[in-house]
């Protein structure tokens, strides 16, 4: 996918990235499809991107069946993994970096962007991802504020990219810190 490509094709994550296996990538894609379908969107819906990059792009995604809905019945969990999908695709699209490393964090994963020149997490930027199934401008701003506080750059903190995905509009805020 290149920056000239106007569409965000979710299924492209199913092939995986250096730090995401194809099976996890496919699961994230499925979660994002459930989130988008659940709020009534169809493939081709416009994603409004704000933050460091102000643009619009169409999201191309497949429909979901009842089995997928049942597998992703936990809304919070599904929204988190759906946000991973959109955010990682945006990271690859909008930065010269790719997802190179991952670690376990709480009930999910932590993704790290880099160019692969250093091992593990050295000289890599963390992805701070947050998902909202259906929010209002206040809740999105409040989530962004919270994420910014979490990643305020000071001595001893790590470089990071913040990505907040709201599926209702749908909208994404992507900022490098």
């Amino acid at each position: 996918m290149t920056d000239n490509d106007p569409d965000l094709v979710l299924s492209s994550l199913s092939t995986g990235l250096p730090g995401v296996t194809s099976s996890l990538g496919s699961s994230m894609v499925e979660a994002a499809c459930v989130c988008l379908s659940d709020v009534g969107h169809e493939s081709g819906v416009t994603l409004f991107l704000e933050g460091d990059f102000e643009k619009q792009m169409k999201i191309i995604f497949d429909g979901v069946d009842d089995q997928a809905r049942r597998a992703w019945a936990d809304e919070q969990f599904c929204t988190e993994f759906g946000a991973y999908c959109i955010s990682l695709l945006l990271a690859v699209r909008l930065t010269p970096l790719t997802v190179i490393e991952r670690s376990r964090k709480g009930t999910g994963f932590d993704f790290w962007l880099g160019d692969g020149t250093e091992p593990l997490f050295t000289k890599k930027a963390r992805m701070e991802i947050s998902g909202i199934r259906r929010g209002n401008p206040t809740s999105i701003k409040s989530r962004l504020r919270k994420k910014k506080i979490q990643v305020t750059p000071t001595d001893g903190t790590l470089p990071a990219h913040i990505s907040i995905v709201e599926f209702g509009k749908p909208k994404a805020i992507f900022e490098a810190k």
């Binding site: 996890l24 597998a71 929204t79 376990r104 709480g106 994963f109 050295t122 259906r134 903190t157 790590l158």
Partner: protein, 375 residues
Amino acid sequence: MKDVVDLHTKAMDLAEQAFVSKLHSDFIGFSKLSLEAFQFEKAAADLLINSTDEPNRSVLHRSAASLAIDCKEWREAERLITRALSGEPPVEIAEELRDLLQVVYFDRHLELKGIKLDNTELQFSLAGKAVSHGTVQSRFVIDRLKSTETLFLRTIERKQNRPFREKGKAEKNLTDHVNLYLSVPRAASFAVTLRLGEPTNQLFLPGLNYKENVIDEVITCFDLFNKSEDEQLKERIKDPSYYTNFVALAKSIAPDGENIDLVGLTALSGSEIRTVKLTRRTKSIALFNPLHISIQEENKFIVVKGRLEYADSRKNKAPTIKLNDEEHKKAYTIQVPDGMMSDIVKPLWEEAVEIEGHLVGKNKIKMSDIRKIEA
């Protein structure tokens, strides 16, 4: 470093497989793969035990500790977290390690540890920034306990097939016997035992095996709510007013993610201990299915802030409240959905609140959510 990278890569591949197994309800596969992933990640972390290579050291320890928690290896998780914190982790990793430590202790505190519950009792535990060992800022616990008491009362009314009571208090002969008693708080994260009063005369509660069913029903509904099993929860709570009321009360008990991270409920069901770790965040819980909102309504979505000043729930009228937005010198008439006036809106009387809803006329809003603005 190559050994560390190889071990970590194996661990993460297994952790991803474990995640996919869980997603497909293969819990045996999840446990087996999580344990293998944990062993590889711990081996990777062990190789950096005396290293100052950050963030690698702390991130690998945090990752291994998260996997240890999946495997219920609490002591290993505690050891890994404290080992990571004893080094020089980056600020945000240190913060996440502390949060993880809280999860470890909270899970331990969900266990009863010698406390003997009977079938009319429930252990209620809280953890988060507002909680220290055995103490909690009162406002974060009192509101939740009040909501829990109301939820018990509503559950009993529902199980007795009484129509939903939109206004007024519950019958005295019911409240007399459904008082909630609190034990002395225990030094866990923060834990108390809630005990329902024993009805002296079962005739007050016809059709309800009180001792066996009430707490079990509450735990089951919380479990479905926490798993977002909305359809199953609706199947269990068929009356829409009772359903809305349950979700709104459960939302008010759920963790806010800022001051309270975890709310735990532990109870006996027969001889079996049942535990629900409520992790859904208040802000992520929608009271109403967005699909029921038309596109026209969606375009009129509005959030207003102000003081709750007037309520009208007279018979034959849709319940309404007035919200006075002092900052913008505006007053709104708010339509309140069934099931919310008495237990959710009324306790917020004269409080500063934020209301979400849809404009259905000039300064008239169909409410979809309400929350108190914390000072």
